[in-house]
Subunit: 229 residues, 2 copies
């Protein structure tokens, strides 16, 4: 099992996944476009979230590096970038740094250009998915889609929903899915359904519209989907 | 509350909804393109389902008529046609026959032209939905999307999943959604989330890909989605 984990993206998802993995004893490097600028961000940020610099002051065991440093460091890599920026981030990270590694894609191809709530970027929807494009961009890696259907606090603590929701995995390599399932177990997920190959990511990404509407309707982001069966 | 219900579509969904409503004491007319031909279908059919004529022999309290007869008859109307045929069926049924009525749209815009599992018809996906097009085609009706995310036996008996899954409604008219919720209650649904206006149907239709994959993965079609919160 991987002991070193690389995380691409320093938003709330990357931070939450990173700090949970560090707490679990993994070595973590979190990657950003420009580490110096990102770390220099201090003081209050919009919407009440701490800036990265302030957050990192509380999580100093997590190394901060470039996208390629994080990818190179990780024996397993989490993609936590915003969907629209993901493929560009992988170019920066260097596809050869992903060779033979398990890559967990949490990103969602959200399209904010039409207003709120977002729709999905049409080129990644229905007959395609962002995960399939990631797998094409990283042909030597083993991409697994998972975790994208809940908020980041629920991702790392399934029980935060107050119940036992279902999590899904989709990917071409069974061994990589097993590795992801192990981490999911450490995040509190006990009911995991394997949706088959990476095209199963289509369904997972297409859950976002009902996720967003349910959040709106219930005014509660701490929910998960349970397959009752 | 409506006592007379019209159903469009004589496939498994229309039959299952129709027979359950008849059992609940509603008067039901089920509509088809060509009633004489549909009723004349007897003997074994593909995939083990009974032909309509044989089925109707067991459900003689249900009237069979044309699409427009069913629409005219119903104080409330269920759309149970295949998604690709729905808008054409509404033309046959006559939009004026839907005026001021609650219309429950269960249809899914499945596209079988690319092989199995089906994708969604691109013109009804992501930035649009079949329900929105139905609402446009029936501007004087109150369209509510619901029930399309489970198999037809679960639609009329939520407890068949072995648990208490969540059902959703989306539509522009609160009164129509209340009428649908009453019927959902009679079908055993006790956890109902209102996703807001008819654009909420996008999310409900986009659940189909993960529904199909989950069915494939679990080899069990008797499941529902529970919002764990």
């Amino acid at each position: 099992m991987a002991a070193k984990i690389g995380i691409l993206g320093t938003g709330m998802v990357g931070r939450t996944i990173g700090s949970k993995l560090a707490e679990l004893g993994y070595q973590v490097t979190i990657g950003t476009r420009d580490p110096e600028t990102t770390l220099g961000k201090k003081g209050p940020e919009q919407r009440g979230a701490p800036t990265f610099g302030d957050w990192h002051g509380q999580h100093q065991s997590i190394r901060v590096g470039s996208m390629s440093e994080a990818a190179m460091f990780g024996e397993m890599i989490f993609i936590c970038t915003s969907g629209a920026a993901t493929l560009e981030a992988l170019k920066l990270a260097g596809p050869t740094n992903f060779r033979s590694k398990t890559v967990i894609d949490i990103s969602n191809p959200l399209d904010f250009s039409r207003g709120m709530p977002p729709t999905l970027l049409p080129q990644f929807t229905n007959t395609n998915s962002l995960s399939e494009e990631i797998q094409k961009a990283l042909p030597d890696a083993n991409v697994v889609k998972s975790l994208n259907i809940v908020n980041c606090e629920v991702m790392v603590n399934a029980k935060k929903t107050g119940g036992d929701p279902t999590m899904f995995v989709a990917g071409n390599a069974p061994k990589a899915k097993d590795e992801v399932k192990t981490i999911l177990g450490q995040f509190g997920w006990t009911d995991i359904i394997d949706l088959g190959d990476i095209t199963g990511a289509r369904g997972l990404e297409m859950v976002l519209p009902i996720w967003l509407r349910t959040w709106q309707a219930t005014q509660n982001g701490y929910f998960g989907f349970k397959i009752v069966r």
